[in-house]
Symmetry: C2
Subunit: 392 residues, 2 copies
Amino acid sequence: MSNSVSNSQAGYYFLQVPGPTVVPDEVVAAMSQPMMDHRGPVFAKLAAEAAQNLKPIFKTKQPVMVIPASGTGAWHASIANCLSKGDKVLIPEVGMFSTLWGKVSRELDLEVIEIAGDWRSGIDAQKVEDALRADTAGEIKAVFATHNETSTGVTSDIAAVRAALNAANHDALLFVDTVSSLVAMDYDHDGWGVDIAICGSQKGLMLPPGLAFAAVSEKALEAKKTSDLNPGYFEFDPLISATETGLYPYTPPVSLIYGLKKATEMILDEGLDAIYARHAKLGEATRACVNVWGLETQCQVEGQHSNAVTAVRVPEGINADEMRAFIFDKYNLSLAAGLGKIAGEVFRIGHLGYQNPLTLMGALSGVEMGMEAFGIKFKKGGVNAAMDILSK
Amino acid sequence: MSNSVSNSQAGYYFLQVPGPTVVPDEVVAAMSQPMMDHRGPVFAKLAAEAAQNLKPIFKTKQPVMVIPASGTGAWHASIANCLSKGDKVLIPEVGMFSTLWGKVSRELDLEVIEIAGDWRSGIDAQKVEDALRADTAGEIKAVFATHNETSTGVTSDIAAVRAALNAANHDALLFVDTVSSLVAMDYDHDGWGVDIAICGSQKGLMLPPGLAFAAVSEKALEAKKTSDLNPGYFEFDPLISATETGLYPYTPPVSLIYGLKKATEMILDEGLDAIYARHAKLGEATRACVNVWGLETQCQVEGQHSNAVTAVRVPEGINADEMRAFIFDKYNLSLAAGLGKIAGEVFRIGHLGYQNPLTLMGALSGVEMGMEAFGIKFKKGGVNAAMDILSK
């Protein structure tokens, strides 16, 4: 926990951005253990156990690689291992991160076919199906789907995207970005037939940033054999081997691996269904609060609201970033910025990871008091609506 | 900070008992430094600086001893150094801790004259004056006044007690228990003419329990010369010397001294007036909340409400301890028990130390939701009243 990295006011710091999220004290303690020989038997056992703990979390029987990099590195890794120069990839636009995924793809010499989106709704599976059906030559090698778009608070139905591939009888791989969805909401790697899922450590997994993850399918590993890109640092083979042996191809970030073992144990102890339910309640309470305030969520489609983060639109004429800065100074509460084309128009309330009803109530109270002091026109009483949900 | 010592639910633990209070991460980090030679120059300098930092906090030019013991040890120390067997001491009853102070006094062979109180109001200075005037033989050697009665959330006017001694022209020493008042509200050792003030580390000073403090006057040190009690471990002379040299008469609790230096620096950095004002606002907001709930505070006298802790009476037929246990399980929120003759009738909301508006809002939301779920009859909307105060 971090109550000392804040605006230097007394008392807990309310870290309500959608990552980095609060790191539990137990994880901090685990990470504070002394360095050890990363080629020795003790570390090897610990690192292998940490990697194996990720399988039930991704709901897969296949290996889940631990990659010493940020989530962006896992994008790079998955492309560089399983695709080839000039490959076409289909990317439904849902917000800032799906857009950035396209940018990374172009940098690695892929050809991106984007399905334009409005940043206020999730993936339209019908459009994915249509695009795949139109690709009679089978040039599209992969569909890149963002499970939870962190910039907008919109989730997409990955099972429906899989169904679209099946309906179109198309052979493309399905890549899924689970960076801000994993643990916060149900993700079923094998059940949904996902080929590569990538994630980062600093969100639902309750760790500092620094580790990325990639879950793969047999089909993805088959595709790897014909890839002509050079993964270099991100070569999958030794990373897959490390999930069994705990021995990395280079020096791994030892303390983060200590933390990963502890955090995954805590997650499996609490139980995924209990964690999903906790996030669902926090998300519902946040939306009930925003609704009473009379403000609009960036997400406009019922059933697509994220349980990890809620993006709230501020009234015309208000600069959301100035409001956030004001609230940080006044209440020791960090809200996240709007990104890309909605910068300044939204603020985002993260409610994923190591969060509970009272941390959310502290945060929502801070927003309600902060908005009033900043002079925003809204209806008070949101916090009461949130309590009605949380106490149900 | 401690988010892992709770009821094992995810998310921050809301520690709202009036001590031990939340220990800031900076203090935890300071206490986590390696052990060092407690007779060496580095520790000596650090320990002396820590002790000197206490002087402005107690508002005194006299030494403030650091005693490796709990607050109860400081009661023992102050009696054993400055009083004698059979001495009469006048103790105005205000609650559980003034009562316990009397018990310790009797155990050390003092004769206690108690001014009976109702546990719902502070010290009646007129009664102190009357008792002293009646003591024409000058047999009363000290008045023991509790500045903030932690069990009831009632403060007493120490300046008025001093004025009572002066008005009666009585020579008794004035001992003050500042355990839960120091830092949370104004305490002026020299200005109020207090002879011995005792305190503990685990409240306003934001440290774990383990250290006690005693501020003395020249008159107290003069009285020490004729004391016939044997202080033993608690002998003042070497402890007073340690405030200058940093060298203790026995092995001091090294990590707590590291923490003391850091915590006192943080307090002096934030500034006492700012800290008093922060506590005043948290106290006012809590009382506004309880008032809307339609519940009674244990303190019945306007102007005597504590800014460190609010004791709230539960409706007839409700067991406050069962309610507290329920709320702890449900919301990861620790409220404090009623003590002594009001056990089960009150719960106490601590709002002292490393606390801010949003931690209080989390706590008050937890009480409001918890009381409803527990089936207590009260009026909702208290949290809104608290926000009205906090956002002023």
